[in-house]
Subunit: 295 residues, 2 copies
């Protein structure tokens, strides 16, 4: 197991444990919404976003107790967006990670409220003193997360994804959609980790550049996998982009063009991290992982 | 027009103007969600919550530029909760303040996303430096708002309201529901205004006690109005509580008991403010208004 694989496994376990603590089961009338929050946020997958936050903060010798909290906050935002996305009014998805989605397990009203509560709790965690003793750092992290996840970030991307005539998108349009819908939270993850670690402005700029290229590479590889893998390997339906005549990086760049663009981005990703020396090995490993993944 | 009536009119106008600035119309693919946010948040009513925040901050000579931002944040939370509450999966309400609710004017997906974006933007506004130059005050306000609006606050109250067997509630159960569903944001409003104004811990405790009694009095008067007024006066269906055999303060205390409880709370409200002298006149006026209102 290489450096990246062992660290992402380790950080995923830390995040799982911390989320379990932030989201206790409870008796009484609030038990149902508490259970729905747990259903939507626990037993997650690789926890890539928290990994990025924790690995970025590790480079500055930040105590894990702090960076795990930043990781949990971004993961709560990610999970709330999946819960709301899966609703019948949005993507109408019955399954998520092979299990019933929150509204199937509970119901639509509970899913809406559980999502709202996770979104709110993300900001509660960031505002608490345990995240960092310096209030100025805490509010900067909260501000960056709000911008990454609101109308000018993730929510805006979901809106475009639902309503824009994507088949008419050019490369700039597809890139903007990616930048908002998935890129903004990935960008925040590395940046938030750098902030909680106390990185300099130059450090933060390098982390931001890294995460922007990483997010774009991730999406291009997603498009490649959708076009080339079967459903069993992906764990979700394959070939949907072509079927829906969706503007993807494959359609716009061709398969070879998309592959070489992804490879170029991964190289650029790693180059942004040179200033951090050996301590950046886990983040560089994430870039290789994104490029080489098969599902 | 008395002190309270002129000031609440003034603060409502300030909040309307500020919200209009925070929520600009925009062209392009984000225009739809921007319009939905405006539809759900502008042209609001009395703006009682922002009034409480601004009037509390005024007692400490806080610049209105700061307290209006706290007022806008709590109003965005209030408005997002109405947008999500009105969804078919929740209360299924077609009208809000006499106009189509957001999901009727747009659609369910847009209403979900507009609510999510308003919730997120509330925390963005609080995290920005313009709210207060002292980061420690800003994060405390954000923390209080997160706690007031999340699972242990407003969202939890909505969950209880939807799922608990309310007809079986005793006085403690009805009081807890009120405390969470509407009380928590009212409590935050006065407290957040006191924090941004730089009040002492004793000041904040007095404001909190005031707002807790005010919120409870508000709910009791709501129950009284539902039982005694006609739909035209209320601007919404009347007599629904009795029809649904809902546990209300009327059912539990009787009409006379409810009226004397409300009067007692209003007196207590005002007593909590004695330490602030004449500067508390607008907040005292709010307590009288809550008691005397007819709709």
């Amino acid at each position: 197991m290489n450096d990246f694989q062992s660290i992402i496994k380790e950080t995923a376990a830390l995040v799982e444990e911390a989320l379990d603590g932030f989201l206790p089961s409870q008796a009484g009338p609030l038990g149902r919404v508490a259970d729905a929050m747990r259903w939507g946020a626990l037993d997650g997958g690789k926890r890539l976003r928290p990994f990025l936050a924790i690995a970025a903060a590790d480079m500055f010798d930040c105590p894990r107790t702090r960076s795990v909290r930043v990781g949990c906050a971004v993961e709560m935002i990610h999970c709330y967006s999946l819960i709301h996305d899966d609703l019948p009014a949005m993507d109408d998805a019955d399954l998520r990670r092979g299990r019933p989605s929150v509204h199937k397990k509970f119901d639509d009203a509970t899913a809406i409220l559980a999502g709202d509560a996770l979104l709110t709790q993300a900001f509660e965690i960031l505002a608490e003193e345990e995240t960092h003793p310096d209030g100025a750092l805490r509010y900067r992290i909260a501000l960056e997360l709000a911008r990454a996840s609101g109308k000018e970030g993730m929510v805006g991307g979901q809106m475009i994804d639902i309503y824009a005539e994507e088949k008419d998108f050019d490369l700039a349009g597809v890139t903007q959609l990616q930048r908002l819908k998935t890129g903004a939270l990935i960008r925040f993850s590395a940046l938030g980790g750098g902030i909680v670690g106390g990185g300099s402005e130059d450090d933060l700029a390098a982390l931001t550049a890294y995460a922007e290229d990483l997010g774009l590479a991730f999406q291009i590889v997603d498009d490649i996998l959708d076009a080339t893998q079967d459903a069993e390997t992906l764990g979700k339906p394959a070939g949907q982009d072509a079927e829906m005549d969706k503007a993807t990086f494959i359609k716009l760049l061709g398969m070879d063009g998309a592959k070489s663009k992804a490879a170029e981005l991964v190289d650029r990703c790693k180059a942004h991290l040179e200033r951090f020396g050996d301590s950046a090995a886990p983040l560089k490993g994430a870039a290789d992982f994104v490029f080489e993944r098969k599902s």
